[in-house]
């Protein structure tokens, strides 16, 4: 396949069904669609629907079983999400650089940003960089703890909002310190009676409305909140910088595969810049971005980057997660 055939077919296909959680605002969506079509001289409709990768995956798998497909682009998923489809042959490696390299020079680099096991199958659209968020109305900046260990201080008893799904992103620490240590830490943390919320966005919300003065939140979430004027601030921990890559990927049963690939290639290279203008799309690979600088700074100060680097590593954490879930639902 070469670029021109893809473009031609994409034009014929006419639309892309996109299921991604970020970018999320309608303005961003409109701007992206416009910029994309101007770039390639097409009139492809981008049908945005925000939906998490696990749900979309489930659906795509079911549809594949039934021989149909209705989704072109899935995101933002974790490595597991991509792997769930890849292991079923529903996401395959694609010669992105060969096809789009000429037209979109950044593509080869983008392909390589992904953990090695998944290269060619997916792109990293956004890095979820986690740090500590706090409600500026409830807590003074000086008082905000700075390490993950500080969270164990009884002072913060019942004051930290955390993700109920195995305390995400804290398990990433295990990549640095090992699972047993991590579990130990988690046990102590749970003793401190965190406020558990259903998912990271709600943790963000809990901090923002003052339900909890502290919480582990994402950088991009904090930026969006601040932009709206919410009393939230954000900083990285000085011991660990927890990062999850956010992937987008095109399933094999996509109804508009060419348009989807074209759009994906564009989005990960040029498109993300367009999106940046409307909302935070942090990528550590983008060394000039504010977050990249922040992380670099923290790393210089001794923080360790806690992020998975291979599928194997991730799979090894399954046990840990189950244990964490049981820890959270064990009662006292």
């Amino acid at each position: 396949a070469d670029f021109d055939t893809v473009l031609e077919k994409a034009k014929a296909e006419g639309s892309v069904v996109v299921r991604v959680t970020n970018p999320s605002s309608p303005e961003t969506h409109a701007a992206l669609e416009k910029a994309f079509n101007e770039r390639f001289g097409t009139s492809i409709r981008i049908e945005w629907t925000p939906q998490g990768a696990p749900q979309t995956n489930a659906r795509v798998i079911a549809e594949a079983g039934g021989g149909t497909g209705s989704v072109d682009l899935i995101g933002l998923g974790s490595a597991e999400d991509v792997e769930a489809l890849r292991s079923r042959g529903l996401v395959k490696e694609y010669p992105w650089a060969d096809v789009f390299g000429k037209e979109l020079p950044g593509i080869a680099e983008a392909v390589d940003e992904v953990i090695p096991d998944l290269r060619g199958a997916t792109f990293n659209l956004l890095d979820a960089v986690y740090g500590l968020g706090w409600n500026t109305g409830l807590i003074k900046t000086e008082e905000v703890p700075s390490t993950t260990a500080d969270l164990l201080d009884p002072k913060w008893n019942s004051k930290i909002a955390l993700n109920a799904f195995f305390l995400n992103p804290l398990p990433t620490i295990a990549y640095v310190i090992g699972q047993d240590e991590m579990l130990d830490y988690a046990k102590k943390l749970v003793e401190n009676k965190p406020i558990l919320q259903r998912g990271s966005p709600v943790v963000m919300q809990a901090v923002s409305v003052g339900q909890a003065p502290l919480g582990i939140i994402t950088y991009h979430g904090a930026v969006a909140a601040k932009k709206k004027g919410q009393p939230v601030d954000f900083k990285l921990f000085s011991d660990y910088v927890m990062v999850y890559q956010g992937y987008i990927y095109v399933p094999e049963n996509a109804p508009h595969p060419n348009a989807a690939r074209l759009f994906t290639a564009w989005l990960t290279t040029e498109g993300s810049k367009v999106a940046e203008q409307f909302e935070a799309m942090p990528r550590l690979a983008d060394k000039d971005s504010e977050i990249a600088k922040l992380v670099a700074e923290a790393e210089k100060a001794g923080a360790k980057l806690a992020t998975p680097t291979s599928l194997e590593e991730i799979a090894a954490q399954d046990q840990l997660r189950d244990q964490l879930t049981k820890l959270l639902t064990a009662g006292n």
Binding site: P26, Q51, I61, L196
Partner: protein, 576 residues
């Protein structure tokens, strides 16, 4: 006169029955089976698949999922918590609903219609969002009520949402409208002479309530208890946001967290296994129900003889009764008010005079400006009307056949229509996806409609059959003797007698269909977006004011339907 003796061995003529014909029963059974059997089979199949695989992925079977659930060392704690939680909230819900229903349906309390309307208003708001309203109200940090308390006393507020009590109370309150719908109509139809006969013979209020009213309402009370029990045991929303932090884990949260992770493929098998266990409990409860209800004659309180509906004259108690009910209803509506407040802000702030100046309609403008919203409105309207009408129509026929028919066919009908209740929503959504994937329905609003009919059938049949059990057989017999067929009898005699019950049930299904997330979320395409999915996307960003504004709009839309209907019901009942 030669009297021939009948030997007991001789087969009884079975065709003979004054109830609906076997044909009608069989057809109804077939329709229900079409709707229900598919999901049930998929549930069973899924429960037996290994973790990490997909329903229908392969032919490998395992009991691992059951083992995971049942072998956990914390199972006793989980079960105990679950039991306390479920029974606590059922009791609160039932008591509040019964109290309100009695006042509203059987007394001359002023403001009855207001109470009735208020009870329905917040039905259209998804529990996650309503639960967040509660968090904003009584979280120990800066809950509004706590803030108020410290404002006046200078001390930290005493309330905390993170406790068993709060969890039970909130859940109890959230099931109250459901319970109200199920038992309100029963009160209304009961022949007051039965009660007054108790008073005349010296029974006090309590004796009459305990020995006469409550036993006579048994079908309704049991129906609602069974329904609410399964619903509460299965629902994870409130236990998750309240119970987890409070360290009161219940079964549903654990299963939910284990089976529906943030990343990767959900563990359907585990959910389904949980569903199977629930289904078994549900069947047991239904058997219990049949045993208790047994001879339906016991509950036939709507008779065609000297039936004089009249209201209890509260006299001096009218005002206190209203005040108490209004307080109860206010308690229930409070989280909604908080959401209402939030919807006028750019982001949530404690209600202060200062914040008052920042109120605007921006959020509404923004929410309504979304392109998705517009098509979602139309889809939602289609979805909620079609599915609620279809559900109630099907449920009416089915429960009439089930209450009037005899033998196993009728019971099978009853159990079958209840069984979808036990299927966890994510499994149900998946089942519907798998079942209708290859049909032209897939991707359209129709598939959501079918999903909702399946889900809400349980509620609707429970509601309708407990109402229909009350009708004395002779009322429909009289119509049959006049030459009317069973359909005419149903339409002209039976349904009009339970009309308010039917309408209330209809509003309930309508509201729940508008707020349900699971089915639309998994089956969402660009063509069948509905309001609840839009709301979810707002919630997930998170955009609290946006979600609040959308909730408010949903509530207002629901009021547009509830108010005229309740006014009409009120007028119709004044005629009686």
């Amino acid at each position: 006169m030669a009297i021939q003796t009948t030997s007991p061995a001789r087969p009884r003529p079975r065709a003979a029955s004054s109830g609906p014909s076997r044909l009608a029963l069989s057809v109804a059974l077939l329709v229900i089976a079409c709707l229900v059997l598919g999901p049930l089979l998929i549930l069973l199949r899924t429960a037996l698949t290994p973790p990490d695989t997909f329903p229908l992925d392969g032919w490998e079977f395992t009991f691992d999922n059951f083992r995971t659930i049942l072998a956990s060392s914390e199972l006793p704690t989980l079960l105990l918590n679950t039991a306390v939680y479920a029974f606590g909230s059922i009791i609160i819900g039932l008591v509040m609903a019964a109290w309100l229903a009695w006042l509203v349906e059987r007394t001359d309390m002023p403001g009855r219609t207001f109470i009735r309307i208020a009870l329905f208003t917040w039905m259209a708001v998804p529990p996650v969002i309503l639960g967040f309203g509660w968090i904003l109200l009584i979280n120990p940090g800066n809950g509004i009520l706590n803030a108020l308390w410290s404002f006046f006393t200078g001390e930290a507020g005493p309330l905390t949402i993170y406790s068993m009590w709060a969890l039970i109370f909130i859940t109890g309150v959230s099931v109250t409208p459901t319970a109200f719908v199920m038992i309100g109509g029963l009160f209304r139809n009961m022949d007051p002479q039965l009660e007054t006969a108790g008073f005349v013979h010296g029974g006090g209020r309590w004796a009459v309530a305990r020995r006469i009213v409550i036993p006579l309402l048994m079908p309704g009370l049991l129906s609602v208890a069974i329904y609410v029990f399964i619903a509460v045991v299965q629902a994870f929303e409130l236990p998750l946001i309240v119970g987890l932090t409070a360290r009161i884990p219940v079964l549903s949260t654990r299963i939910y967290l284990l089976s529906t992770p943030d990343v990767g493929v959900p563990n359907y098998g585990l959910s389904a296994a949980f569903g199977i266990l629930l289904l078994m409990i549900a069947c047991l409860l239904m058997l219990l129900y049949f045993r208790v209800i047994g001879a339906g004659e016991k509950y036939k309180v709507v008779t065609g003889k000297a039936f004089h509906p009249r209201r209890v004259h509260l006299g001096p108690w009218a005002v206190p009764a209203f005040a108490l009910s209004a307080v109860l209803v206010f308690l229930m509506v409070m989280p909604l008010l908080v959401l209402f407040w939030t919807s006028f802000l750019r982001f949530y702030e404690l209600p202060t005079f200062d914040a008052l100046t920042r109120m605007s309609l921006d959020t509404y403008r923004e929410v309504l400006g979304r392109t998705a919203v517009r098509s979602a409105i139309l889809n939602t309207v289609i979805l909620v009307f079609v599915s609620s009408i279809a559900t109630m129509a099907l449920a009416s026929v089915v429960s009439w056949l089930a209450t009037r028919g005899q033998g196993w066919l009728a019971r099978a009908l009853d159990v079958m229509s209840f069984s979808p209740m036990a299927i966890p929503p994510i499994v149900m959504a998946m089942a519907i996806l798998l079942l209708y994937l290859r049909t032209p329905l897939y991707g359209s609003v129709m598939i959501l409609i079918i999903g909702h009919i399946t889900i809400y059938l349980a509620f609707a049949t429970r509601t309708m059959s407990s109402a229909l059990v009350q009708l004395h057989k002779e009322l429909s017999d009289a119509a049959m003797v006049c030459g009317a067929g069973w359909w005419t009898t149903l339409r002209r005699i039976v349904l009009p007698l339970v009309w308010p019950q039917l309408l209330n049930g209809w509003i309930w299904v309508l509201a729940h269909s508008a707020r349900d997330l699971t089915i639309p979320l998994l089956l969402m395409t660009n063509k069948n977006m509905v309001m609840s999915t839009v709301m979810w996307t707002l919630w997930d960003v998170p955009d609290l004011p946006g979600a609040a504004a959308l909730s408010t709009l949903l509530v207002l839309a629901l009021l547009l339907i509830v108010v005229p209907i309740q006014l009409w019901i009120a007028r119709a009942s004044e005629r009686r």
